[in-house]
Amino acid sequence: MIEIQNLNVYIKDNHILKNVNVTLPEKQITCIIGPSGCGKSTLLRTLNRLIDTTEEVRLEGRIMVDGQDSLGHDAEVTELRRKIGLVSQRPCPLPMSIFDNVAYGCRINKMFKKRRELIYHVRQNLRAVGLLDEIKGRIRTPAARLSIGQQQRLCLARSLAVQPAYILADEATSALDPISAKTVEDLFVKLKEEYSIIMVTHTLRQALRIADNVVFMYLGEIIESGPAEQVFHHPQHELTQKYLAGAFS
């Protein structure tokens, strides 16, 4: 479970996230919705501390990941990132073969001693995203030769291979063709049995289809959050009602 408490994020002099308080439950899909520039992506990048690579960033507050503050001084950033996988908007395979892409994370985290175990693990994860059969016999070829949809699933397999507990998805289907998008979306639904998924999405319909929980953000603040049913059908806040009605996006 991830509990965000009084989180404030400043980049240079801009106050990007304002006093964010929210709990992201386990083994469910939480969709973060809101208009462009409202801080959705920043929130995701703060969760796995990828935000650290941004210039002049200042973080305040606490993010409790399974009871440990990931913003604390003693937080192990690399371990945190292993635990919280990320699938970004545009798939970005590493410059190596399909096999090595999935094996990369296992190797740096020294997960396996025996090569046979590694191979088995890589194949398992490729199967989990439905790639193994599609790429039969091409597992050693460059990942860059896959189609965009396949690359995105490869990125997902790569994240899963390091055995995270959480998966962050930053508009993970928006750059894909409709069929690939559907495949990836279905995958997320299947994956929520084992993983907690936090998903930023621009497509309200996607959120309607798959979200268990919804967080609505506007100008760096969380306006409303709760179970999907409640937020979508009985929004409490006027802004949420307007956004859902399509008054702005």
Binding site: L50, T53, T78, P95, M96, A143, A144, R158
Partner: protein
Amino acid sequence: MKISNSKKIHENIAIIFMWGAMLIVFGLVISVIWTVFSKGMKAMSWEMVSSLPGGGFYIGKEGGFLNAIVGSLYIVGASTLLGLLISIPVVFFLNIYLKKGSKLAYAARMAFDVLFGVPSIVYGAFGFTIMIFFGLRTSLLGGIIVITLLIIPIFIRTMDEVTRNFPRDILDASFSLGATRWETLKVVLRQIAPGIATATLLSIGRAIGDAASVMFTAGYTDSIPTSLSQPAATLPLAVFFQLQSPIPEVVDRAYAAALVLTVIVLILSISGRFITNKFSKNKI
């Protein structure tokens, strides 16, 4: 579709210019290679590339210029290695450790641009001054150091160009799997490997062909250096000195040396292309 007359004329002029430019370039390349081959082949023999200059070599008698071939290879090999060792960390520092828009990076790039444009004779003179200061004589070491200085800006600027266009997403992808900066560097290295290969080729090309910088620093000798403190001969200087001779046989030998130099560069370029293609296979 009907194209107006004036458009046709414009199009024809453009085509004439393009063909003209292409013919000039091709003509130049062919005539250079032809000159070097036709004149160089006259004096070319196994002896030329396999033996040291004999007693009367410079008046057209026995011996070859193995000393210059070996000297050039020593200097170029060592300085390329040193250059890579120095440049790769600099490029990583500029592109990964320093954040975007860093003033230090800006100043450093500017400095490398300036160094890139400094003529090689200035490097030679600079090296010479330093060697005098330390009481060094012309030596293999002096040549290696000056050639390293000469090619570092080429290395850095070429690699920097490739690394700057590097998709930053790869960094995020690697970091988000729990990689440290060091582990991520290795991924970056794979992505920019083709760039490093190109930079190395350019640098070797410049290093092996440069006469001015080694003239004062590496010197010239008829023997193959056995230690870093001995002077070393180089192919460009072999061409330079023999070309000044009034004896036609010696001038032909200058062309033979030029031929060897050209062939080395050609081999490096072709194998370099081959290697680059192999490296690019996995590039995103």
